[in-house]
């Protein structure tokens, strides 16, 4: 099984090799499709063999030898409850984005599909890796194909968009790299026999505790990188550009997979390794998340470009996920994990749908449509379902995620004010406002432009792309238990362990000299000092 996981991750690279050998446009497409489809089918074996009740370590674990003598940096991949669903989402989106590009991409086919395949490997790698250096490598690797996808196959403003995207996220990850190196040496200093370690299993365990001061800096370094990636307000401005200019497949992968790397990183890295800082900054992060939810929704409301509207809606939706993570309880974190998948499905579907209409009319402006529901009824139905999923209609996936997050946040001990959840819930109203208003202006009313009279309804390929997503939207909406069961054990363990660790660190901090800001921030009074005073 562990071999199977590795095959899944690297199969797309074999596809790239195939493309290079074949040197033929038609073969390129088929090779890409077959490899990604095969990856998906193989990954199904993984989920079928995943032991839901297994606690502790990840499954399908591959552990390599340390790369450098004395440094505990090693190839370490496996899947656990935190990563499984996102990994599956990645493998599912693979063939879908390949098919979505089938007829719409016409230049440099070999390069295009090679980039998509590389992105696929990188994304799977991010979710599967359990050594933070390996994680970092995959994290950065995913930037490169996306940079080219936007820069070469993007729209008119692609250069500005891709440079902004690349540099912005790169700055974040470089700061993270600095933190990571510090973290590695720090961990090495408490380990026997090695100088450096980035093994997540050790870092996240109770055996490794970081002092409050270092935790603060390290949390800041990591959280910044992840928040840019999410993107959390106010680090979001690269997103509308990148989404608008990216080709359809790029937007889909960006929304469905890459943004999740940020929220996933917060959960995987920041919560268990810096539990005190995580809890202490939770109200601030929660506040940014809530602002993002409302702000993103309001800005989305007035967009004239459908794609940009969906991009801003992502800012709003991911605000929910971040809120759920920082509320730090089982319900909210489970909701956040599920919502990551949900957003991938519904926003992924929306970008696909926008791409389909763009392929036909070469415009994405709301004003260029109007009244086309009658012309393309199947499209209208698919679009409506994705819209309803996005606005969180019960019975569809988005509702479950939002409800869990908000309910969890409302009852959170870490962010105690109910106001967070209440204001966030306003986003539920606003989502209906901007989505239904957009849908109405695009689909309803009298036919505004004569060119739209002859629009072709969806063909079999396009329906085939959307149907799996629609099925999953309903499935998650009606039987979310089938999905939340995979992460249940892991989330509970993670929360309990980080809670214990947080209290332990807090306890030991009381015996230490702390700078004033730190003792104020963490509300820790030095026991020695207070004892002296009492005397």
């Amino acid at each position: 099984m562990q071999l199977l996981l590795n095959i899944c991750i690297y199969l797309p690279l074999a596809g790239i090799a195939g493309i290079l050998v074949a040197r033929n446009d038609k073969a390129t497409k088929w090779i890409s499709l077959v490899t990604t489809a095969l990856t998906f089918l193989l990954s199904l074996l993984l989920i079928f063999n995943f032991d839901i009740s297994a606690s502790g370590t990840a499954q399908f674990l591959t552990e390599g030898a340390p790369i450098i003598e004395g440094m505990d940096i090693k190839y370490l991949v496996g899947l656990d409850g935190l990563s499984l669903l996102l990994f599956m989402l990645t493998t599912l989106m693979g063939p879908i984005v390949i098919l979505s590009s089938w007829n719409s991409v016409k230049k440099h086919l070999a390069g295009y599909y090679a980039m998509l395949l590389l992105l696929q490997t990188a994304s799977m790698g991010v979710f599967a890796s359990l050594d933070l250096i390996v994680f970092y490598v995959f994290f950065e690797l995913s930037l490169i194909p996306m940079y080219f996808l936007i820069g070469i196959w993007g729209g008119e403003g692609r250069i500005h968009a891709t440079v902004k995207f690349f540099i912005y996220t790169l700055v974040g990850s470089l700061i993270m790299l600095v933190g990571l190196i510090y973290l590695g040496y720090d961990a090495g200093s408490v380990m026997e026999g090695v100088r450096f370690s980035t093994d997540w299993r050790f870092l996240s365990s109770g055996a490794y505790q970081i002092g409050l001061v270092e935790q603060t800096y390290l949390f800041a370094a990591f959280a910044l990188a992840f928040c840019i990636k999410v993107p959390l307000f106010p680090f979001h401005t690269w997103l509308p550009y990148a989404h608008t200019e990216a080709p359809t497949a790029g937007s889909v992968v960006l929304a469905a997979i890459m943004l999740k790397m940020g929220t996933y990183g917060l959960l995987r890295v920041c919560l268990p390794i810096f539990p005190n800082a995580f809890a202490e900054f939770a109200p601030y992060m929660g506040a940014l998340a809530v602002v993002g939810i409302i702000y993103g929704a309001l800005v989305a409301m007035v967009q004239k470009d459908v794609k940009k509207l969906v991009a801003y809606s992502s800012v709003s939706h991911l605000g929910f996920v971040v809120l759920g993570l920082f509320a730090v309880n089982t319900i909210s974190v489970q909701g956040a994990l599920l919502q990551m998948v949900n957003h991938g499905l519904s926003t992924g579907a929306l970008f696909l749908i926008v791409g389909m209409i763009y392929d036909r009319r070469h415009t994405r402006m709301i004003d260029d449509f109007g009244g086309i529901a009658k012309v393309i009824p199947v499209f209208a139905v698919m679009f409506m379902i994705a819209t309803l999923a996005s606005i969180g209609l019960p019975g569809l996936n988005g509702f479950i995620g939002e409800f869990l997050i908000l309910n969890g946040a409302f009852n959170s001990e870490i962010i105690p004010q109910n106001a967070f959840a209440v204001f966030a819930a306003l986003g539920v109203i606003l989502a209906a406002v901007y989505m239904l208003w957009m849908y109405q202006r695009v689909m309803f009313g009298p036919l505004k432009h004569k060119v739209n009279e002859k629009l072709q309804d969806l063909n079999a390929r396009e329906i085939g792309i959307l149907v799996p997503l629609v099925i999953l939207m309903f499935w998650i909406g009606i039987r979310p238990v089938d999905f939340t069961q995979y992460s249940e054990v892991q989330v509970n363990e993670l929360l309990e362990a980080s809670q214990e660790k947080r209290l332990a660190i807090e306890q030991s901090a009381k015996a230490e000299e702390l700078p004033e800001w730190a003792s104020a921030l963490y509300d820790v009074t030095n026991e020695l000092a207070s004892q002296t005073k009492n005397r």
């Binding site: 106010p234 309001l298 409302f410």
Partner: protein
């Protein structure tokens, strides 16, 4: 699965199956769409069979029977939150199920004729079935979250059906408006659920109701208030009622089913379901009663100025829903449900009757066009009608019956339910908290009863009495009356059925004192009270018999007075002249009523436009200029550094050597000094 579970799931699932068959087949196959008989049969059976099952349940249920719980599967199970897809059939939910499937079936039947010539016939029935599915989830759910699924589900169907003719932008606007106003209420509902879960740890009704002590009293207030705000959205009360009149943009059978008989009563059902909790916070009860009474009178005053036949009925619905909330707030949960039931009968009858009239008027317009006369008029405008009773006898008679019923004239259905509400309101005046206010609310209720009789008879007389106005108003339309016909029997049969129910429907709730006054011992002839007493937490009715008789006489007198005044003014069909007289006499008031209190303009001006403008001119600019501007500025500063230091990178070896020497000298001198 035992048989009760199987039958319960059949009730729920059949309408869904109907939706899927008609929806998917219709979407994918042109030939299927043409088989209208089959589509109609599938849709009708998907509602009729559940109705039969519901009747079976009803017949096998006694007053004390424990609820049937049908657990299908676990929906959500995360941490401490566990919610099942589970349904509960008890005395309250079976009443609602009978109304939803029974009246629902009659309206399905009616729609076959009404929608026959529409291109979207298949789609219409698919949506209608989906609505029944969602509505049944709402009334049968055994927990708040599943109820909420139905709650938003009916909202979706309402959206789809109001905007059924979506190529008309005004209609799709109305649909969107309905959805959004409902969402505002749903937001409050969501927060109420979070709070409930916080204190009870469950969303299941029986767990909540058996753990009411776990909820502190101020939380009870907030939960109750938030749920009521949710109800003001779905059940069209102040301040969120403005969507309902616009919702009449949908096909008329939709107005009858969704926007009169069933969906809009969801809020009343919700509060009745949780009545033991509501009675524990008298503050919320007062708020509910006051908002209900206010809505009742506001909507009634608007109704008497409208000329759109469906518009009058729409405001009438808002007003009647107000009565139901007045009942809830007065602790008369049974009376509220009673009025839900009777209102479903007579208002569905009225809407379907108006549909029959509109159908006929459209037919006239169509007929005139075929004669080559380009006559255009609004087929819903009363001012073009009049004298229709000659041409449409069935429609007229059933419409008249339903009007008498809604006006509260004994012994028709509306009389009993409205009288009970008013008696309970008066009764609540003797409670400790805010008692006297209830006397005032009773007064409002009585005035509204007068107005109800007045505007309903104005509508009936204006439509059916006097002479046919169309040929008088538009010269070209001379001889238009020959195109007037009664509607086909698929439409008139449901009218007669509903008309019959409007006559006898009230007998399920005959007040006990009618008998006990004479027998001098306790009577139990109020069937509905007996039936619901285990579920609803009604206040004790402590009025003396003489007082009850007095209240009854007063409510009959005002109804008759309303009828009389309406007859004097409108009996001859002189609608416009009498309207003008009223407008003259009531001046500013009449203007305000006619302008619907300018509430739409108020919301548009105060919330919608400022928010859009703020987002467009403010936030979107702020985002691009400021937030992104900072990012660009940081980039710019770095580039600036780069452009300065670039001059150092000359690539000339000798200048590097010079710099090196200077550097060494500086370092050395620092070390020496």
């Amino acid at each position: 699965m035992d048989s009760a579970t199987t039958l319960t799931s059949l009730i729920i699932i059949l309408p869904l199956v109907g939706f899927l068959i008609n929806g998917l087949m219709g979407l994918s196959s042109d030939s299927f769409r043409e088989r209208k008989g089959m589509i109609g049969a599938i849709a009708n059976l998907s509602v009729f069979i559940p109705f039969v099952i519901a009747v079976y349940f009803f017949l096998n249920m006694g007053q004390e029977t424990a609820p049937v719980i049908a657990e299908l599967f676990t929906w959500i199970d995360v941490g401490t939150l566990s919610v099942d897809i589970a349904y509960q059939i008890d005395q309250l939910s079976i009443v609602m199920t009978l109304v939803v499937t029974g009246v629902g079936f009659l309206i399905h039947l009616y729609s076959i004729g009404y929608m026959w010539h529409d291109d979207g016939y298949w789609k219409f029935f698919a949506y209608l079935n989906l609505f029944i599915f969602a509505m049944l989830n709402l009334v049968l759910a055994d927990n708040l979250l599943l109820l909420f699924l139905g709650w938003e589900g009916v909202g979706l169907c309402s959206y789809l059906l109001i905007g059924f003719w979506y190529t008309d932008m005004a209609k799709s606007d109305a649909a969107k408006k309905a959805f959004l106003y409902n969402r505002v209420g749903d937001f409050a509902f969501l927060v109420a659920m979070f709070m409930t879960f916080q204190f009870v740890g469950s969303l299941q009704f029986d767990v909540i109701l058996s753990n009411l002590d776990a909820i502190p009293s101020d939380a009870k207030f907030w939960i109750g208030l938030l749920m009521f705000i949710g109800a003001t959205g779905k059940s069209a009360q102040i301040p969120l009622f403005v969507w309902l009149p616009d919702a009449m943009a949908g096909p008329t059978s939709v107005s009858a089913l969704i926007h009169a008989a069933t969906m809009v009563t969801s809020g009343i059902y919700l509060i009745s379901r949780l009545s033991p909790m509501f009675v524990m916070s008298p503050e919320v009860m007062v708020i509910i009663a006051a908002i209900g009474a206010l809505t009742a009178i506001v909507a009634a005053t608007i109704a008497l100025t409208q000329n759109d036949i469906k518009g009058v009925l729409a405001y009438s619905t808002v007003s009647q829903l107000g009565y139901m909330f007045l009942a809830l707030g007065s602790g008369a949960f049974t009376a509220a449900i009673f009025h839900v039931v009777t209102h479903a009968f007579f208002k569905a009858c009225l809407f379907l009757g108006s549909g029959s009239v509109i159908h006929a008027m459209e037919h006239v317009e169509h007929g005139l066009h075929e004669e080559g006369k380009e006559v255009h008029f609004d087929p819903q405008d009363m001012r073009f009608m009049g004298g229709l009773k000659e041409y449409m006898p069935s429609t007229y008679k059933t419409f008249l019956i339903a009007t008498v019923a809604i006006a509260g004239i004994p012994p028709l259905a509306g009389f009993f339910s409205k009288d009970e509400i008013l008696a309970f309101t008066f009764n609540a005046g003797f409670t400790e908290f805010a008692g006297p206010l209830y006397f005032l609310l009773w007064g409002v209720g009585i005035i509204t009863a007068f107005l109800t009789a007045f505007y309903m008879f104005r509508l009936t007389f204006g439509t059916f009495n006097g002479s046919f106005k169309l040929p008088e108003k538009i010269e070209e339309a001379a001889g238009a009356e020959k195109h007037l016909h009664e509607s086909p029997s698929t439409m008139t049969i449901p009218l007669w059925a509903l008309g019959g129910l409007s006559v006898v429907g009230g007998f399920i709730g005959i007040p006990n004192f009618l008998v006990s006054t004479f027998t001098h011992e306790e009577a139990h002839i109020n069937l509905l009270h007996n039936w619901l007493h285990t579920v609803t937490a009604d206040y004790e009715l402590g009025l003396s018999h003489s007082l009850e008789w007095a209240l009854l006489v007063i409510s009959v007198l005002v109804a008759v007075a309303g009828l009389y005044v309406a007859y004097r003014l409108y009996g001859s069909g002189a609608t416009e002249e009498s309207d003008a007289r009223l407008a003259g006499r009531y001046g500013v008031f009449y203007e305000t009523w006619k302008e619907k209190y300018s509430l739409d303009e108020f919301y548009e001006g105060l919330v919608v436009h400022p928010l859009v403008r703020f987002s467009d001119k403010g936030l979107a600019k702020f985002d691009m200029k400021f937030v992104d501007g900072i990012v660009n500025a940081v980039g710019g500063i770095i580039r600036l550094f780069g452009s300065v230091f670039r001059y150092a990178q000359t690539g000339v070896a000798s200048s590097y050597a010079l710099a090196l020497v200077v550097g060494v000298l500086i370092v050395l001198s620092l070390l020496i000094l």
